[in-house]
Amino acid sequence: MSLVAGVVLGAISIQWVAFLVLAVVAIAAALVVVLHRSPVVGAMGLVTNFLCIAGIYVLLNAYFFAALQVIIYAGAVVVLITFVIMLLNLQPEAKGGPGVVPVALAALLGLALIAVVGRPLLEYAAPEAGPPAPDFGTVAQVGEALFTVYFYPFLAVSLALLSAMVGAVLLAKRRLED
């Protein structure tokens, strides 16, 4: 049943409460990332956001992906970002920030996108989906799908990762001569 329907009917399960809490915290964290002037605070906001989303994945019975999310996103990506922030010793941005016009425009566009995407979501009453399959979200099921149906994308991604590694090393390597 749709969001509105869920609230109205009052059949609020623990799931619902958990989802709402996690959602609110995630949004708040996202706002911190975007609005806060100090990059480190932003990074911590990002971590919080990722952990909340991992929580939501658990709610969606996607345990494997939740673990992945925490290990890779929260554990590696944000650490890397924080690492670079501290390496470059970045100071918080100057007060000024970009002019009002782009900010306003961006906000406007954002709202427009939400309006465009949101409306059908609210109206669309999806059919009630039953409980997930017993092995849903487990490593076995995802692993099996990954290596059979999505095998070639998997190879492509591995190539992409390889090239990213080489690229990153070359770009960041201090020139030998200087």
Partner: protein, 107 residues
Amino acid sequence: MVGDPGPYLLLAAVLFVIGAFGVISRRGAITILMSIELMLNSANLALIAVSRFLPGDGGAGVPDGQVIGFLVLAIAAAEVAVGLAIVIAMFRLRESVDVDLARLLRW
């Protein structure tokens, strides 16, 4: 049990928009990178939310969403790596990560 992807998709949309707003309005390269991560993450959320409620064999849910999510994850990680390398290189040139300083590529 929230029976349909509605609320999750809405959350994903909101997160996406916040990420986009961050990319557009902020001048710090790192912040922009983080906002991009946000957007990618919201995409993942949407993917998995939808795949969870699709009719699969032996109950609701198909693994495809998570597999694609996994691939997006990998790509996002690669993207951050290269992005940070670029930021470092830029920092070395400009002493700052302000994106507006890198505007040589214009008429």
